[in-house]
């Protein structure tokens, strides 16, 4: 039991341990004979670009059961992990008192064998102060928590760093929370900690610095490598309890997460053992909360976790305890399918390296606006990608009901994403649905099958430069490519976007052969957005503008168009 609990806790940590590196994976072509194993190396630097020694690095293969490979940066900040098999890897760093800028969970960065990675770590800031009671005497061993409310750019955090931002006061009532990501924080003492403990202050209402409730909490600015001081006058008012039972399906227990209503960032979590009577969160103030129960229904050591999730439950505390909450976990949906790799007979394409299934991933995309329940953590994290097995079969698991699109990523210069289709209907009368053009709906617990993703050989590329009139200021621009053939206008996989860099160069890779129209846009949508069904009017508008310009490019299979001059 203890092991299972630990594993559950570990999964939680893994999902939260976000990848931190800002560098794009290299798009450079690889040798035809791919090595069967290799290394990833790199450098750890601090916020001033100076090498950072002694940082721990964790190199983990995506969607793998395997343990993370670990190493430590040397005196020059360098590191290298040998003996890696072809796979997509995420890399995270950890050094005491340092923090990282978390990556966007919606756009993770993957690394492959041969990549050189720069890992940037930022010296964290510290918040320190004294917690005292009404008589000015120290409050000893009360837990103090710093909660990030806005990051250094003034934006609400997407990824929480809970758990680590908690420290207890010492015998003088002094606390010191260090290694904090720069940004704006509120600080509280008492109340339930992120994980349960045996502490008399846990059942109190948290006192927010200087001596108030959450609504009127003082904001504390944290800067890299600096101390911020704020004292707390502890109020010690009793908090309230939310308790209930999670009804589960299997034998692994369930973890219950509590968040402020509408927030995706949990404030506390607890584990309900199988056979336990229920769960209970204490030390809560008046207000609205969301609760969700999550259960691992698979054998956690044998497969990637298969989860069951309860509907989120909104609970209001108004001056009294709330008991008897019931959360019932239900199986989540899956989408399964296969990746096909089609080779071309065109002479130019012979001998070109195909994509490795081990280095292929199918990521999920969701509509931007879904009810806030979708923000509640786990499902999104676990259900965000799948890796095909050696036969190309894959299963996207742990999907909450909703609409999905697919974003395959693969690494082979001369291949392109040709099509994504679902087969529906009966065996006698199969019906092909274009999964690239529309959203695929998954109902609660539904198992959707027969998604076929075809990667075809023959991709072309363009390297070019934008020619602009002399002396003119150049605003940030992007070039949009779209199919020139009128009957292909609706093939969203023929649309591409490339940013024009500072030296006016641009590049397109993995382009299906064919004829293209191009246009320059100052504020183009992202590629993912452009390919969504809702963007059909935008695509039509772009095509009209491009048709008027009459800039047409024809790309033959496996053609590399270099030094292409594009006139504005």
């Amino acid at each position: 039991m203890r092991l299972q609990k630990l594993i559950a806790a570990c999964f939680l940590l893994f999902t939260l341990c976000f990848v931190v590196c800002a560098q794009e994976p290299s798009a450079t072509p690889r040798k035809v004979n791919e090595p069967t194993s290799g290394f990833i190396d790199g450098k750890v630097v601090n916020e001033n670009g100076q090498p950072l020694a002694g940082a721990s690095l964790f190199v983990r293969a995506v969607n793998s059961l395997g343990n993370a490979r670990t190493t430590t940066s040397d005196l020059d900040g360098n590191f290298r992990v040998n003996g890696l098999e072809p796979a997509l890897y995420t890399i995270s760093g950890n050094a005491p008192a340092y923090t990282t800028v978390p990556g966007d969970p919606a756009a993770p960065v993957y690394y492959r064998i041969g990549d050189t990675v720069r890992v940037e770590m930022i010296r964290g800031g510290a918040i320190t102060g004294t917690v005292s009671n009404a008589l000015g005497e120290p409050v000893i061993a009360v837990r103090v928590r710093a909660t990030l409310i806005r990051d250094a750019r003034g934006e609400p955090p997407k990824v929480s760093s809970f758990g680590v931002n908690e420290q207890s006061t010492d015998d003088r009532g002094i606390y010191r929370i260090y290694g904090l990501r720069p940004g704006t924080y509120i600080v509280s003492a008492g109340g339930a900690g992120f994980s349960p403990s045996f502490n008399p202050y846990d059942s109190d209402l948290p006192t927010f610095a200087p001596s108030s409730t959450r609504d009127t909490a003082a904001e504390v600015t944290v800067r890299s490598g600096e101390d911020s001081t704020i004292d707390i006058r502890y109020r010690g008012e009793p908090g309230h309890i939310i308790s209930g039972t999670a009804k589960v399906m299997g034998q692994n227990g369930a973890s219950i997460t509590l968040a402020l209503a509408g927030s995706s960032i949990p404030i506390a979590t607890m584990f309900q053992q199988v056979g336990a009577r229920g769960f209970s969160f204490n030390g809560l103030g008046d207000g609205d909360y969301d609760l969700i129960a999550q259960e691992v229904t698979s054998n956690p050591s044998a497969t990637l976790p298969v989860l069951a999730l309860s509907e989120p439950k909104r609970v209001s505390i108004k001056g009294t305890d709330v008991t008897g909450i019931e959360l019932t976990t239900r199986a989540l949906g899956t989408i399964s399918g296969k990746v096909l790799i089609e080779t071309s007979k065109v002479a130019e394409c012979q001998g070109k390296r195909p994509p490795l299934l081990a280095e292929t991933i199918i990521r999920l995309e969701r509509p931007e606006k879904e009810p806030d329940k979708d923000d509640l953590l786990y499902a999104r994290m676990f259900g965000s990608s799948a890796s095909p097995d050696t036969s190309g079969a894959f299963t996207l698991r742990n999907l909450v009901a909703g609409r999905y699109r697919f974003e395959p990523r693969f690494y082979a210069r001369y291949w392109y994403l040709q099509s994504m289709t679902m087969t529906a209907g009966t065996a006698a009368k199969p019906q092909k649905i274009d999964a690239a053009a529309g959203w695929t709906t998954v109902k609660a617990g539904e198992q959707v099958t027969n998604l076929t993703i075809t990667l075809a050989q023959g991709a072309a590329s363009i390297r070019g430069r934008l020619s602009v009139p002399e002396g003119g200021a150049v605003p940030a621009m992007s070039i949009v490519l779209m199919p020139a053939e009128p009957d292909k206008a609706d093939d969203v996989l023929r649309y591409f976007v490339s940013e024009v860099s500072g030296d006016l160069t641009f590049a397109f890779n993995n382009l299906p052969p064919g004829r293209y129209l191009a246009s320059i846009e100052t504020q183009p949508p992202t590629l993912a957005k452009l390919r969504q069904p809702e963007s059909a009017p935008v695509r039509t508008k772009l095509r009209r503008a491009a048709e008027a310009k009459k800039t047409e490019i024809e790309l033959k299979p496996c053609q590399n168009l270099v030094d292409y001059q594009f006139k504005q």
Binding site: L3, D171, Y178, D204, G236, I241, M270, Q273, R277, A302
Partner: protein, 556 residues
């Protein structure tokens, strides 16, 4: 500064009125009458009543170890009373982290058994302010070492180890350095201490990961404890500038190899392997998991020099174990190892009830059988010799992947691993013959089938108290009670908790005759043992008083 105001926030709470049974509303409706039991006592600081101390009550056996049932706060004279306590076994603890018991032999928490509507009085705690040790940890270049564990050892620990070198050293306290390299440990008992940071060969090291490791150094810069400066801590005293200068970090190494099936020689993918470090005669836990990939290959990192042995993580449902394999890490990575999986020792059969009972039969799905081997050979993978198995609806079970040795079979609840209330193993049969109590001697790879594990179920209750005569219990004395079937050397019955007053309580016993062994042990006292036989009946509470004579033994 007076003590009285220190816990004012807690006083403001007055007596917190948590619902007495937090879970009652979530559990199926029962006919619950308000419990009228209570626990009361006094918290004193240097003999004077301590005001405003939160006294917390926690159930001794619970699936959630952090489940606080109730708490109360001491009044101006130090008295507290926790009311509405349901019958049960509890731990009572004053929340006073900067304070220590007046007598260091006394536990800071007390266990208390509360009967139906019983008012338990005089659960008292005599405290004094503990000592503080604080200082800074720096590396060889004078830079602060951050997030470094600092351990505080009682000097006596090392003296005892000198007499019996096998003895492991445990820290009396500890803390972590902050981002300035500063640590502060408070609530220390008066005494003489040595303060160390880093990793040692003969102390208990709780699982090091890949974090950079330093060799243990004692304050101020002593590589071994004999040269450490001793820190004297008196009641409420503070030792400042107890600084430690560490050396260079220790280099760590990797181990790599392939896991193969010992019979077919084929690689075994997706299994979790671990290593444990062998130090003298004992095993040290190494916090590292290695997962074999599709080719059966594994890599593990962060190992400091030493002797290691592989083990397979239990409960992976393969029925195998790794063939004993040790390797040494000296000054480089070790690779190219071939680790063989061999057939584990296994036991299978059915679980049956001594007396047929449909309602009781339904409860078997909440139970599991467990087995572990007491190794007769010194190097036989201490960790891989345990297994557990659920009990299938038809009563069948399979305990697999064990190593050979003296096999012990037990039963526990799936939810918390405790022996289940009401159930015990009456006997184990094979081919109609009852196997000897205690262990079953099994060879490596032996497959024992057709076992019948006969469970008895009952709801008899034994309520006992252990008294002493001809003397008083010295400070720090402990009373132990053990239950066994007559003539049984190794009992698989649950051991009851004996509370601060010598009370114990055992529910869910199968009717029959039992031996109750009671023992008293205390520092500097010869332990005393008494055995009493008692018979219990279903649905009946039997009272038992055991008296232990403390008369000093007559010298011949």
């Amino acid at each position: 500064m007076s003590f009285s105001g220190r816990y004012l926030p807690a006083v403001l709470l007055t007596i917190l009125s948590l619902p007495t049974s937090l879970w009652a509303q979530a559990a199926p409706k029962q006919n619950i009458k308000a419990p009228r039991g209570s626990i009361s006592g006094r918290v004193t600081l240097k003999g004077k009543g301590a005001e405003g101390v939160a006294v917390m009550l926690r159930k001794t056996e619970t699936a959630n170890p952090f489940e606080t049932l109730q708490k109360a706060t001491t009044d101006q004279d130090g008295f507290y009373r926790i009311a509405n306590v349901p019958p049960g076994s509890y731990e009572v603890s004053p929340s006073a982290p900067a304070f220590v018991p007046t007598d260091w032999k006394e536990p800071k928490n007390k266990s208390v058994l509360v009967g139906e509507d019983e008012n338990v009085e005089n659960i008292n705690f005599a405290l004094v302010r503990g000592g503080v040790i604080t200082g800074k940890v720096t590396d060889a270049d004078g830079r602060p070492v951050i997030q470094q564990q600092v351990n505080i050892f009682r000097v006596e620990m090392f003296e005892q180890q000198q007499q019996s070198p096998q003895r492991q050293i445990f820290a009396a306290g500890g803390g972590q350095t902050d981002d300035r390299g500063i640590y502060r440990v408070f609530g220390l008992l008066p005494g003489r201490y040595k303060v160390g940071a880093g990793r040692s060969e003969d102390a208990f090291n709780p699982g090091f990961g890949s974090r950079s490791t330093y060799k243990q150094v004692f304050h101020p810069d002593a590589p071994d404890h004999t040269k450490a400066t001793v820190i004297e801590i008196g009641e409420g005293s503070e030792a400042k500038d107890v600084d430690i200068t560490l050396g260079r970090t220790m280099q760590t190494f990797a181990v790599a190899g392939r896991l193969i099936d010992g019979e077919k020689g084929l690689p075994v993918p997706n299994l979790r392997l671990g290593v444990q470090r062998i130090l003298n005669q004992r095993y040290e836990f190494v916090s590292m998991v290695m997962m074999t990939n599709s080719k059966g290959d594994f890599v593990g990192e962060g190992l400091i020099p030493g002797k290691y042995e592989f083990y397979l993580f239990p409960n992976q449902n393969v029925g195998m174990r790794v063939e004993t394999f040790t390797f040494d890490i000296t000054d480089q990575d070790v690779s190219g190892l071939t680790i063989k999986l061999v057939q584990g020792t296994s036991l299978s059969g059915v679980v049956v009830l001594e007396t047929e009972n449909k309602a009781v039969l339904a409860k078997l799905s909440e139970l599991q059988l467990t087995a572990f081997t007491v190794n007769t050979k010194p190097s036989n993978g201490a960790l891989n010799s345990s297994a557990r198995s659920p009990i299938a609806p038809d009563g069948s079970f399979q305990l697999r992947g064990l190593s050979g040795g003296d096999m012990r079979i037990g039963i526990s609840a799936i939810s918390n691993g405790y022996p289940p209330k009401g159930f015990s193993i009456a006997r184990i049969e094979r081919d109609g013959v009852t196997l000897p109590r205690g262990g079953i001697e099994m060879k490596d790879g032996e497959q024992l089938t057709g076992l019948r594990v006969v469970l008895s179920y009952g709801n008899a209750t034994l309520r006992g108290v252990v008294n002493v005569e001809n003397g008083e219990l010295p400070p720090g004395a402990r009373i132990y009670v053990r239950l066994a079937r007559p003539g049984e050397k190794l009992s698989n019955l649950r051991t009851p908790q004996v509370d601060a007053r010598g009370h114990f309580f055992i529910e869910g016993l199968a009717p029959g005759t039992y031996e109750v062994h009671a023992a008293v042990s205390a520092p500097q006292m010869q332990p005393r043992m008494v055995m009493r036989e008692v018979s219990v009946q279903d649905g009946v509470t039997t009272d038992l008083t055991i008296t232990i004579d403390l008369t000093p033994p007559q010298k011949p």
